[in-house]
């Protein structure tokens, strides 16, 4: 219960309606749980063969050494630039194609079978083919990330465009708006909530794509570090990379969610009767 309520109850001398239970302090329980886990891990981890399992203090030491040597920041920058470029491309192309597909039933019908086929194939499976075509450098990683991120954006944008209520478009037509004006000023803003939802889905998949591409090409980037340290049995450093990737995932998804909330303020949470 919030502090203000507690104070009022104390002042008025009322009895508590239900007994104090430990469930009133969620963050304390969470902290307790995490600390217990870390302690158990530390004790157990020190006893097990260091090639297989490490313990929290070793992970922290490994993190410190990686940051100091500059290895971690460098590879992170490498990974993030590839991610940014490829994700940007997938947003631009995904939204563009999605707008066209949403507006024109013919285009949508023509492209649908191929898009569904590509979407149904696990994009991971196409990675060896892409490695054969594009070699092992920046291009193949960018293409893999692009493929992972493109389809959710495309499908969600098309869905958003199709969901634009026809009365909105009719108002545009009644005011003699040209096709281009309708597309840019009516359809696109109305579809923004769906587009942002698609981008939120896509960013998670893009990170997976980044890790997959780097695991297999294994030259530069965070995923490559994973493979390298795995081969060297440096378990502590592997954990550092996994944690960094986890933090990256949380940060990016949260950022997209905040952006989504800000940009989709006019989201129709319920449809009135059209």
């Amino acid at each position: 219960m919030p502090a203000a309520d507690e104070r009022i109850i104390a002042e008025l001398g009322l009895r508590r309606e239900r007994a104090r239970s430990v469930c009133d302090y969620p963050n304390a329980i969470r902290a307790f749980s995490v600390i217990c886990f870390l302690i158990v891990w530390e004790i157990y981890g020190r006893r097990v063969d260091p090639l297989l399992l490490t313990y929290p203090t070793a992970v922290v030491q490994a993190a410190w050494s990686l940051i100091k040597s500059g290895e971690l920041p460098r590879q992170m920058l490498e990974s993030l630039t590839t991610l940014a470029v490829a994700f940007g491309a997938s947003v631009v192309l995904g939204v563009g194609f999605g707008l066209v597909m949403g507006r024109s039933r013919v285009v949508s019908a023509a492209l649908e079978p191929h898009i569904n086929a590509l979407y149904a194939t696990p994009q991971v499976a196409l990675t060896p083919l892409l490695m054969m075509w594009f070699g092992l450098g920046f291009t193949v990683k960018a293409v893999v990330i692009f493929l992972f991120a493109f389809f959710p954006i495309l499908i969600n944008t098309a869905s958003g465009v199709r969901n634009v209520s026809s009365s909105t478009i009719e108002v545009g037509r009644a005011y003699m708006a040209s096709r281009r004006q309708i597309l840019l000023k009516v359809v696109f803003p109305a579809a923004v909530p769906f587009i942002m939802a698609g981008i939120r889905l896509a960013i998670g998949r893009a990170i997976v794509g980044m890790v997959v591409a780097e695991l297999f090409t294994a030259i530069t980037g965070l995923g490559a570090m994973l493979t390298l340290y795995g081969n060297l049995f440096e378990t502590a450093k592997m954990f550092v990379i996994v944690i960094v990737l986890g933090i990256l995932g949380v940060v990016l998804v949260r950022a997209t969610q905040t952006l989504e909330r800000r940009m989709a303020r006019w989201k129709e949470t319920e449809r009135a009767i059209e």
């Binding site: 430990v22 469930c23 969620p26 329980i29 969470r30 749980s33 995490v34 886990f37 297989l52 399992l53 039933r105 013919v106 019908a109 023509a110 492209l111 649908e112 079978p113 191929h114 086929a117 149904a120 194939t121 696990p122 991971v124 499976a125 196409l126 990675t127 060896p128 083919l129 490695m131 054969m132 075509w133 998670g204 990170i207 997976v208 890790v211 997959v212 695991l215 297999f216 995923g223 994973l226 493979t227 340290y229 795995g230 049995f233 378990t235 592997m238 954990f239 990379i241 996994v242 944690i243 990737l245 986890g246 933090i247 995932g249 949380v250 998804v253 319920e270």
Partner: protein, 275 residues
């Protein structure tokens, strides 16, 4: 539209069909079919000219398909992959549903397990593959672990969400009739959260498939993923497309199967909440 005999007769007399101009938008099925045929023909035509190491063409792929399916090794590997996939997926479903129910119903469980679930959910599961391979070796246990981890989180989080959404009024009715905890679970909470659970299962099926493929491609010993890596390393591009197409079909079949199950087991989905 159901037309009675009189209306049909009137329409036949007016003969509307012939007066409408041909609009592409009216024949979408035709557009789709033409599109597919056009792409396959272009692929066949231009694919023959390209170096066969880089790209194959539909007829060669079809030939390789028939050849591989008959030879036996492909089906063996596919069966191996499927076994591991199903083992990991069932474990993920059981653990995910049980934990989701517990976490949803009991706040204590939620607060205890919360940090770990969110932490693991945020990490791309593929990043855990090298560590898991290190711990469990290159065989089946590692792959089952990867499939399990890929599949458990959608199920867990959707079940959790479903249990939380069970309207308290339903649970109170149960209590008013003196139902004990076990009965409340089996007769009220589980059926009410079933739509969410099925949605989680549908997500898990897809993610687990990605998990098994990535793990097998990385370990590259047995299974469909290993075949992918092997054929691409040998530059046998026509054979390479066979597992790809097989996986795509498998993904579609599995998702459809779950959708059918969803429709059968959870037809009482609350599509809109009343007050």
């Amino acid at each position: 539209m159901a037309l009675n005999a009189l209306e049909q007769e009137a329409l036949a007399e007016i003969d509307l069909e012939s007066t409408r101009p041909f609009r592409l938008a009216d024949h979408l099925g035709l557009v789709r079919a033409v599109s597919v045929v056009a792409v396959i023909s272009l692929w066949e035509y231009f694919g023959r000219d390209v170096n066969p190491l880089f790209l194959s063409y539909p007829s060669a792929i079809a030939r390789a398909f028939v050849q591989l399916l008959g030879a036996g090794q492909f089906m063996q590997q596919a069966r191996g992959s499927l076994e591991v996939y199903l083992a990991g997926l069932s474990a993920a479903l059981v653990v995910g549903i049980v934990l989701g129910l517990l976490m949803g119903r009991y706040r204590l469980a939620e607060y205890l397990l919360d940090p770990f679930v969110y932490a693991l959910d945020a990490t791309p599961r593929v990043a855990l593959i090298p560590i898991l391979l290190l711990w469990f070796g290159l065989g089946a246990p590692a792959k089952i672990a990867v499939v399990f981890l890929s599949g458990v989180f959608p199920v867990l989080m959707n079940t959790f969400s479903g249990v939380r959404t069970v309207s308290a009024g339903l649970v109170e009715v149960g209590r008013a009739y003196g139902a004990r905890e076990g009965k409340i679970f089996t007769k009220i909470i589980v059926p009410a959260s079933l739509p969410f659970i099925m949605a989680g299962v549908r997500l898990a099926v897809g993610r687990a498939l990605i998990g098994i493929i990535t793990a097998e491609m990385f370990a590259a010993v047995t299974g469909l993923g290993a075949l992918l890596v092997r054929y691409s390393s040998a530059l046998a591009t026509d054979k390479f497309f066979v597992p790809v197409i097989f996986l795509a079909l498998l993904g579609v079949i599995l998702t459809r199967a779950v959708e059918l199950l969803e429709k059968r087991f959870a037809p009482w989905k609350e599509t809109e909440r009343a007050l």
